[in-house]
Every structure is written in C-alpha cells, then in structure tokens.
C-alpha cells in the first residue's frame, strides 16, 4: 500500500491541507512535517475526503495542531470526514473540539473565505468569488433561421460591441447588411475583438480590434448569443492529464462546483476563458446560411445529407498546443430547464452532427486560437490576460469548438445564468 500523500496550498487567507491515503501511525509520521510547517496564526482547512482510515495517531496530529492554532489565534476546520473516521472522532470524545464541515466549500465559508479550491478527477479548480448577482444569456435572432438557411436582410442586426462583450454567433464585418450577407460565418467577440470566419471559400478568419475611440463599428449578425452581467466566479483550472480535460468535462465540473457554491444555481452557465488548448476539434460553416443558399432538399444545413457540403469539420485535431480565447454557454440537461424561457433557451443551442455526444450537457462554444503565448505575472486577471493575447498574440485560427477539444490550463470567467432573454444591446 502506498504512503499517505499530503499537499498544502494557500487559497485566499486559508491554508488548505489535502490528505490522501491511510492516516495510520505511519501516515501520521509522514504528515507530521507538513503539520509542523503550518502558520499557527492562520485559518486551516484539512480536506479528509481521501482518507478512508483514521486512528489515534491521526487524531493526535489534529489535537496538537488545534492546540497550537488555538494558542496563537488560528482556526481549524476538518472537511469531508469519511463515515468511519467520523466514528473514530466521535468515540474519542474529540469531535466536539473540532469544527467539522461536510465539504471544503463549506469549510471555507465557515472561515469567512469566499474563495475555494476543488479537486475533481479531471483537474484542479481554484475559484475566486466575483459578482454576487446572477447573470443572463442574451439571444439575438433565432438559430432556426441559420439552420434552415433562411437568413434575410430583414433578420440582420447591426450590433455595437464593447471591450466587455463576450459573445458567439453568426456574423460579419462590412459596410452594409447587403454586402456581408453572402459572407456570414462563425464569429466570436472577446476582449474588444471580433473574429469571424467569412464564408468566402478561403476558410481564413478575419480579425478586428477596433480603435478604442471608435464606437461606430457594427457587427452585422443574424444570430448572436452574449453573456450579460459580471462574472460570478473567476476560476483557475489545471488539468490532471497532460493532454488536458475536454470542454465537456470542464463544463461538467464547473456545474458540479456551481451546485455546491451557489444554492441559486439553475443549471446553465456562460463562460469566457483564456486557455491553453491540448487538442482542438471544431468546425465552421462554409456557406452563408441565407435563403439563396438554402439546401434544395429542404432539410437543415446540419442534416446528415447536407452536413458535408455545409461544414468544414475536424475528425482529427485541427491544432495542438495552442493558446486560445473561448466563449461559450452550457446547460445541464438533468436540471429543471423549465425555469428558463424555452424560446430563447432553444435558440441558443443546436445539434451539430460533427460533435460527439456530451452526456447530459448541451454546449455551444467558439474559440479563437493563437500561437502559444506566455501568461503575465501572478496574480492573474482574466481581463488582462485576454487583452495581452489580443494585443500581442499571433493569431492562428477561429472555430466553432467541439466538446472534445481539450484544455490543459485556463483562467475562466463564469456567469451563473438566471435567465435566457432577448438581446438588449440592439441598435438596428
């Protein structure tokens, strides 16, 4: 049997000790140096979720630590104590001398620390609390018109965008709706930049960073989904595996974290991320979905009969080891989605045949890729890292992303979604 493994990290004001393995007499010997290295003036959380066995030797470690913390002004909370270990604490008569919380999150809250760290099978998530108020997803246009290839000038909207705009959709840049209509393609706005994949046959993205004093630039779009509201959590993600975790796995984890962190979580999130991508799989529409291009068979452009002609899509990774900016939305299909306005919810997602199933989740993500780009100094800010790569990075590509795209590391701004609603920024 392998030895107890102990890791220590500082999250906000809290020292988090994570123990994995048997906390027997030998385990206690292994753990002792880490316990002695603790600052006894600090708040300490011990995550015992990975400890199936505890004996008097382990309890003695906790008692010694508690005495030191109490004498110097620190605090201790034990979290995720497994059932038999809890019995041992109880029988020892010492359970009343320790604060015990169900989860690491609650332990952090007990200590007044709103940041938290989550260890999930796919990797490690460090969460820093942002805005309290839930956000929204705003939907402009109907994905149905895109999928049926019936976008008309009357359905086009000129949309202003700011440096805070995080959105995905179908759009173009150009002098007028009539000019751009035949070129409409996948688009993303992030960090004050609009990147789109014109359907001019070249499969080459176009990139625009408007001058700050220019608010006259309009995105011409037939369908757009944007995040509204401030980020509720800023999450630093580090994958457990070298090639990374899939977008689906990251969304799944973020939703599990949301359920723990936010009792008001409703089953939908929006996010923006500055990511290091392991393997990028994606697609792009290659014809503008306007009435003149509508499939003769009358079926959707995503129908298996039409998909090959309408989409350039990846069956092997298009890119490996690139830096990226990603914007996307996701819903947990096991949640009660009747709380959302069905019209706008259903307009935000569609089934893409090239995208392998993500069990229980519906996702919609676009990403813009750069050559590997260095991160700035810690502490990281999502907004600053996004600006840096937009201003200095070597632009490579832009795609609709499939859920199997892998992320090795990311700074993620997460919006917990209260509602799906009509776009509020229109200036048509």
């Amino acid at each position: 049997m392998s030895d107890l493994v102990i890791s220590t990290e500082k999250v906000g004001s809290v020292s988090l000790l994570r123990l994995v393995g048997r906390l027997d007499a030998h385990g206690a010997d292994v753990a002792e140096p880490s316990f002695q290295a603790i600052d006894y003036k600090s708040a300490v959380v011990i995550d015992l979720g990975g400890v199936p066995y505890l004996s008097s030797a382990g309890i003695r470690l906790f008692v010694a630590l508690q005495k030191n913390l109490q004498s110097q002004g620190g605090k201790l909370v034990l979290a995720e104590v497994q059932p038999y270990c809890r019995d041992v604490l109880k029988v020892s008569g010492l359970d009343q001398f320790f604060t015990i919380e169900e989860t690491v999150t609650r332990a952090f809250l007990e200590l007044g620390e709103r940041n938290a760290v989550f260890h999930r099978p796919v990797g490690r998530f460090v969460c820093h609390r942002g805005a309290e108020c839930l956000g929204s997803i705003e939907v402009l246009g109907d994905i149905g018109n895109v999928l049926a290839s019936r976008v008309t000038p009357a359905l086009m909207v000129g949309k202003k965008f700011s440096s805070k705009e995080y959105s995905i959709g179908l759009g173009a840049l150009g002098p007028s709706d009539e000019d751009v209509l035949p070129l409409l393609g996948e688009m993303i706005t992030i960090g004050g930049t609009m990147v789109w994949l014109p359907t001019d046959g070249n499969d080459t993205p176009d990139f625009l960073v408007p001058r700050q004093d220019s608010d006259s630039v309009l995105i011409r779009t037939g369908f757009n989904v944007s995040l509204a509201g401030d980020f509720n959590d800023y999450v630093e993600f580090e994958a457990a595996a070298d090639k990374g975790a899939t977008l689906a796995e990251i969304y799944e984890s973020l939703m599990a974290i949301a359920r723990e962190r936010r009792p008001d979580f409703r089953g939908a999130i929006g996010l923006a991320m500055r990511a290091e991508v392991g393997e990028l799989y994606g697609c792009g529409v290659v014809k503008s979905p306007i009435a003149a291009n509508a499939p003769e068979n009358g079926k959707l452009i995503t129908d298996p009969e039409n998909y090959e002609q309408w989409f350039e899509y990846d069956q092997t990774p298009r890119l490996r080891d690139v830096s990226a900016l990603i914007c996307g939305i996701g819903v947990d299909q096991s949640a009660d989605l009747s709380v959302f306005d069905a019209e706008y919810l259903n307009s935000a997602f569609y089934i893409n045949p090239g995208n392998a199933d993500s069990t229980g989740l519906k996702l919609h993500n676009h990403g813009v890729c750069f050559r590997p780009f260095p991160l700035g100094e810690k502490p990281w800010s999502l907004e600053r890292e996004v600006q840096n790569i937009v201003n200095e990075g070597d632009f490579v590509d832009m795609r609709h992303l499939f859920d199997r795209t892998t992320i090795q590391w990311a700074l993620i701004g997460v919006v917990y979604v209260e509602d799906f609603r009509p776009d509020s920024s229109q200036s048509a």
Partner: protein, 138 residues
Amino acid sequence: MAATAAYTIQGTLPELSRVAALMTSFLEEQETPPAAVFAANLALEEIVTNTIKYGLFPEVHPGISITVHALADQVELVIEDEAAAFDPFAMETPDTSIPLAERQVGGLGIHLIRNMLDTFSYERSGKRNIIRLTKRFS
C-alpha cells in the same frame, strides 16, 4: 464461512501499514462488512503501535505475530509478542470530558478499542503477551 490468515510484523510502522493492507484485502475477500474491517484495522494498529513504542526491540525480537480469523458473524484478531509483560487494558481510560488543552492524549488508542470492539482480553503465557480482540457483525 471461516478463514484464517497469519502475518508477522518486524516492529516498524511501515511494516504495520503493509500488514494492515494485507489483512484488509484478506477480510474483503471474505466479504467481511466494511465496518468490521475498519474496526479490525484499528485494533491491529492501536495494539501494535503500543507494542512497538513501549515493549519491543526489533533487533533482538522475532516480531509480532498476527492471526486473523474471519468468521460468519465476527472477526477475531490474536496478536502475540515476546516483549516484556504489558497489559494495555490495565491502563486508565482518558477522561474525554475535560477540555482539549488540558487533556493528555496518551491512552486514546486503547480507549478506541474499548469502545469500538466487542471483546478484548490480555493474557501472559510464558514469555508471550497474547491479546485477543473480536468485532461482531450480523
């Protein structure tokens, strides 16, 4: 259902962890309930650490022998050594009602055995200490 396993511990804590793992696998194979497996682990560890700390000199000692009987309704553990005579159950039970800061933490392991096992006994037979423990289950 009845099966027996025997082990020898050469008097170091990593040795104890190794034997605890073997015993756990053995009991799990016998489909002993998890709560009884846990109690057997606890009993093994608390007795053997006491012996290692207080009684045993590994360089001159043949080791601590462990015999585990997995029965239909209980686990029996027999722990024997040739250290100086020492009855762990003769020790005073710690007073768990007094504040932590004033509490001595010794004797906690024996307190756990008294409360989490069903029977426990000590016998001195010749030059051997023999401790028997049982954990019942239904």
